[in-house]
């Protein structure tokens, strides 16, 4: 977004025949404050500026407006039409001066369009248009101005006066009605497109005049003929509405990330919603620890695509849980949306407030469901409680809905948080246990397309164009109209546009729908009716397809359209989504040019050639974010073991508990299903072991390496099942290999030396006096000498090899052995009158002892 600058002009005092305007000071102050709150850099022109200064300042202000910039000029004072041109009256000017056609030193023209080459300049003029002071009878504000980049907005209609609201209290300042309304709407910051601000300002003016029992006053837009280009400009955002959210800057693999998407309708009256309080509770204290422990079970030790391993601390006192909260309407702001998509992918836990199944929430759910298998909780408020009847969007019909409606009984207040925490815990536990865990539809259906090459290939537009839209009866005439128009735009008669129902596939809707959404190159989505299902599908489509979607909407469903009133409590998100996605607008049974444009774009689009990335924006954001959070594929041996265990677990033999379905048979001796599951499990286990043996060479890893331990366990289990199947030869091959690896692991050097020393002359021998070996005395002495030297060698190995590596610090039993060995060696050295070396060893031991 470009620069936002505002220039404020307020002229209070004039010369002869112009009334002074005491309200101007307050007008400028109030509008200035509002524009400043909207992020505008506000500049004020001196109230006694002469016409030449004023004119130059305005010209320069317009000329410096750059591409993507929005500049606002605000004027409160007298206006005058002179020679057919609308002019501002400069400070101190008299009526005669202003009306002098020969000289323009006391007036400034308001048509500044010729100075605006780029960006957008909006000129708000709070001045009367009743012609009461016009000598010529010309009314101010009638000049024809028709520049797309320059818009004038007058505070009243032709023939009306811009009225002032008299002070009700002594200390209250007078203020012009238009300025009060405009400033109020801007301060509200609920509407951010120019058209919405103007509409709301007009409503506010009417309200104020009505309450103050004044003549009606309606602001007027002066923008010439409203072409589609101009309509688009009017829909442009003139400031960014405030956003209350705090999405983490970077994903930390060792923390937990939680995102709450709040519904708009639930936050209109209470911006600090109950749900936000409840979710906040679940991330702290005892609740937070419960959630964390469940999360630990799922996430700890997971290897991510970027090579990082998630190290999730076990039972920390204050679990590092990041909670980001955003109201759905704010999620669709231009500068916020990318971050929200990133958070939807990164979050380990997302909580969606699905109250009223708002389209904005459903679209975000679609993105989440397509991109991540984490835990997602769908919770419904608005008075709904579990077991109450509810109409759920058809493609979410098996969603397990939570209720966050306040309990009826006061004593049950804590129950809502309890239930939510229980759901989260259960979700993470199941996610840890079940490789195919899902709490939203689509994830597997988008990926499990079968092994054939064609299964995941793109379905070309020539095969069919996929249409996602409402299925309500009311929509039927839109479908008939649209499908006819679209077919008319297609290059050949055998091209078709189809909805899911028209494809005639007997497969489950959920399986078939998401396959189509992923594979179809051409997809048209009609927003009309704001059907929750359609928006969920749109979210999925935008997340998984670089082809994106061509989006259309019936003009009655535009934010200002007659039908949009039905979605009054979702207005913010609808307005923001329109501004963000900019769907093509069509008129039912009317002009079809926009449909033609949309289909032309659809057919000629090729993702790789598209540099604007407008259509694949979500897909790209998801692709970027997924790199940091996606887990690596489960290692092959683990997949095989899991598959084997799911068929026939090794514990089954010990417990005798059944694992497969349909194990009963008429003849007890012919239990084919059971035998087959045991056989398949055995083969999978053997394959896993062989992979570990020959590919991973796990048998050569250190004994305490978990992979080595798994290799041994698996080998024994495989051998066990082979023996059961009377395949002893292969079982023995496996056992022999395990045995061989076991023998190949050498003892640590110090241990070998000590063992060799002990074998020659054990330290206890001196204390017990028992003979170790028979033989003559000189041989015995030689053995004792050799044992001493071996022990010294072992001690020096520990001193100079293991100690610098810090192994003594890490391993307490090793340190104790080092001390014991040092003392034994020193003793032996003292016995052999080698006092210096003995003392050196003791010094080292003492030093080590102090350090310890």
């Amino acid at each position: 977004m470009g620069n936002r600058r505002a220039l404020l002009i307020g002229i209070e005092e004039y010369g002869d025949d112009f009334a002074s305007l005491p309200a101007v000071r307050q007008d400028v102050a109030f509008v200035g404050k509002a524009l400043s709150a909207c992020g505008y850099e506000v500049e004020k022109v001196s109230s006694d500026a002469k016409a030449d200064v004023l004119g130059n300042t305005l010209r320069l202000f317009c000329e410096t407006c750059d591409k993507d910039d929005v500049h606002i000029i605000y004027f409160s004072g007298h206006g005058r039409s002179v020679g057919g041109k609308d002019c501002l009256v400069a400070a101190g000017a008299s009526r005669d001066d202003v009306d002098d056609l020969e000289n323009d030193y006391s007036r400034v023209e308001t048509n500044l369009g010729r100075f605006v080459d780029r960006g957008l300049v909006v000129f708000f003029i709070d001045a009367c248009r009743d012609g009461a002071i016009a000598k010529s009878g010309e009314t101010f504000g009638n000049e024809l101005v028709d520049e797309p980049r320059f818009i004038r907005v007058f505070g009243c209609r032709r023939g009306e006066r811009c009225q002032v609201l008299r002070k009700a209290e002594k200390n209250e300042a007078e203020i012009s009605i238009f300025s009060k309304a405009l400033g109020g709407v801007l301060l509200e910051r609920r509407h951010s497109t120019l058209s919405a601000v103007l509409d709301r300002t007009a409503e506010s003016c009417m309200d104020i005049t009505d309450k103050a029992v004044l003549e009606p006053q309606l602001p007027r837009l002066d923008y010439g003929e409203l072409t589609s280009e101009k309509q688009k400009i009017l829909k442009r955002r003139i400031f960014d509405p405030p956003v209350v959210f705090s999405i983490w800057e970077q994903f930390n693999p060792n923390h937990m990330h939680c995102l709450l998407i709040e519904s708009e309708s639930e936050t209109i009256e209470t911006p600090e919603s109950e749900l936000r309080k409840i979710v906040s509770l679940t991330t702290k204290g005892g609740y937070g620890r419960k959630v964390w422990n469940a999360f630990h079970k799922y996430a700890n030790d997971k290897l991510l695509l970027n090579g990082k391993r998630r190290e999730i601390a076990e039972s920390p006192r204050d679990p590092p849980i990041h909670l980001a909260t955003i109201v759905v309407k704010d999620a669709y702001q231009e500068h916020v949306f990318d971050n929200v998509v990133r958070a939807l992918v990164e979050a380990d836990l997302v909580i969606f407030d699905v109250t009223k199944f708002e389209p904005g929430v459903l679209l975000l759910m679609g993105i989440r469901s397509a991109s991540r298998r984490g835990v997602s909780i769908s919770t419904h408020g608005g008075g709904w409680r579990e077991l109450d009847e509810i109409e759920v969007p058809f493609n979410l019909s098996d969603l397990s809905l939570n209720s966050h409606t306040k309990p009826k009984e006061h004593k049950e207040q804590g129950k809502v948080a309890d239930t939510l925490v229980r759901r989260i815990e259960y979700g993470f536990r199941q996610l840890a246990k079940q490789p195919r865990y899902q709490d939203l539809p689509a994830y597997d259906a988008l990926r499990q397309l079968g092994p054939l090459y064609e299964a995941a290939s793109t379905i070309p537009a020539s095969t069919h164009i996929l249409m996602l839209s409402s299925y309500r009866v009311l929509y039927e005439e839109n479908w008939l109209f649209l499908s006819n128009e679209i077919i008319g735009c297609l290059p050949s008669d055998d091209w078709k546009v189809l909805r899911l129902v028209d494809l005639g596939n007997p497969q489950l809707v959920s399986q078939f729908l998401y396959e189509q959404i992923r594979r179809a190159a051409a997809c048209v989505v009609d927003w009309t009716e704001y059907s929750p299902s359609t928006f969920f599908e749109l979210g999925v489509r935008l997340a998984v397809s670089e082809w994106g979607a061509i989006q259309l909407v019936d003009d009655r469903y535009l934010p200002e359209g007659e039908q949009s009133k039905r979605w009054e409590r979702m207005f913010g998100q609808i307005e923001n989504m329109h501004a963000l996605f900019d769907p093509f607008t069509y008129r039912l049974f009317g002009d079809t040019s926009s449909i033609r444009n949309a289909i032309e774009l659809l057919l000629k689009r090729s993702p790789a050639m598209d540099e604007s990335h407008k259509r694949d924006r979500v897909y790209r954001r998801v692709s970027e974010a997924i790199q940091d959070v996606a887990e690596t594929y489960t290692p092959v041996h683990k997949q095989l073991i899991d598959a084997a265990d799911a068929l026939h677990h090794p514990l089954q033999g010990r417990e005798g508990a059944p694992q497969i379905l349909f194990r009963h048979s008429r003849e007890s001796s012919s239990q084919h299903a059971k035998t087959e599951s045991e056989r398949a499990a055995k083969e999978l286990r053997i394959a896993a072991w062989m992979y570990m043996e020959y590919r991973l060479k796990a048998g050569y890893l250190k004994r305490d390496d978990p992979l080595r331990q798994l290799y041994e366990k698996l080998g024994e289990e495989s051998a066990s099942s082979l023996f059961d199947a009377d395949e002893g030869d292969l079982a023995r091959l496996i056992l022999d290999s395990l045995q061989e690896k076991s023998a190949e692991t050498y003892k640590p050097v110090y241990k070998q030396l000590i063992d060799a020393a002990d074998a020659l002359h054990h330290p206890l021998q001196s204390r017990e006096g028992a003979p170790r070996n028979s033989g003559d005395g000189s041989r015995q002495l030689a053995k004792i000498e050799s044992a001493k030297e071996l022990r010294i060698a072992a001690w020096f190995y520990m001193e100079y090899r293991l100690k610098p590596k810090g192994e003594l610090e890490r391993n307490e039993s090793l340190r104790k052995l080092y001390e014991k060995l040092g003392e034994e060696s020193a003793n032996a050295l003292f016995d052999a009158d080698e006092v210096n070396l003995a003392q050196r060893i003791l010094d080292s031991l003492q030093k080590q002892g102090k350090q310890a």
Binding site: H648, P650, Q652, G653, R654, E655, G656, A657, P658, R663, H664, E667, S668, S669, S670, Q671, K674, T675, E678, K713, E716, E717, A719, S720, F723, D724, D726, G728, A731, R732, L735
Partner: protein, 225 residues
């Protein structure tokens, strides 16, 4: 400690099966080596200090596995003692598993310490205990014993030894449906062994057990070794 016991039990199981396979092929020497390795592993584990830190279920299982290995080595006396130790753990800790308790009774027959008739009250009491734990809903909720094929096998064994073939068959079928394919054969092998020994020791009820084993094998379509 628990994971160590799990590992030992796994290693012993594979040694036992290895030994069984050798024995089946007539290689008695190698079979004995495998069983002895299993015995060594169990002896070592069961002589470790801090046994009180081990899950009693695993401890009982280790005694039971030791009994099985010793039986294969022909050390019936030691096997009887192993089952007795396991049975004590089962009782003291109120375990649902009755494997050691039942084998303790069977081995009293195998060693000739008791006649079948003398053990009837204990067999009845054990059968009652198993039936109770299989129908007690609170217990079921706690330990899923109803899902354990071995409980049904033990119950069937009790009824087979008590001469109630109909009940034995019914419970054996449940056991067969739940357990691994190979398990019923192992169970019937023991029953046959008991029958054979009762015959050798001139127990008046030996025919009852022999008939039970034969009839069950034929009804269940299992060939015994």
């Amino acid at each position: 400690m628990n994971s160590h016991f799990e590992t030992v039990l796994r290693k012993v199981e594979v040694q036992r099966k290895s030994g069984d396979a050798y024995r089946k092929n007539g290689n008695k020497e190698c079979a004995s080596e495998a069983f002895e390795e299993g015995e060594r592993l169990l002896d070592k584990a069961l002589s470790l200090p801090d046994q009180e830190n081990v899950d009693p279920k695993l401890l009982a299982e280790a005694h039971g596995a030791r009994g099985g290995i010793l039986r294969r080595l022909g050390k019936r006396r030691e096997a009887l003692q192993a089952y007795k130790d396991g049975a004590l753990i089962e009782k003291v800790h109120g375990l649902n598993s009755t494997y050691n308790r039942l084998n303790f009774l069977k081995y009293q027959l195998l060693t000739g310490d008791e006649k079948l008739r003398a053990l009837e009250p204990e067999l009845k009491s054990l059968a009652e205990f198993i039936e109770n734990s299989l129908t007690n809903t609170s217990k079921v909720a706690e330990s899923n014993v109803r899902d354990s094929g071995w409980a049904w096998a033990d119950l069937a064994d009790c009824h087979a030894l008590l001469g109630d073939l109909d009940k034995a068959e019914k419970f054996y079928i449940t056991f067969i449906e739940k357990s691994e394919t190979k398990s019923p054969k192992t169970a019937l092998d023991v029953l046959n062994e008991v029958a054979k020994h009762l015959e050798e020791s001139g127990d008046p009820d030996c025919e009852r057990v022999r008939a039970a084993a034969t009839s069950l094998a034929s009804r269940l379509g299992i060939s015994t070794s």
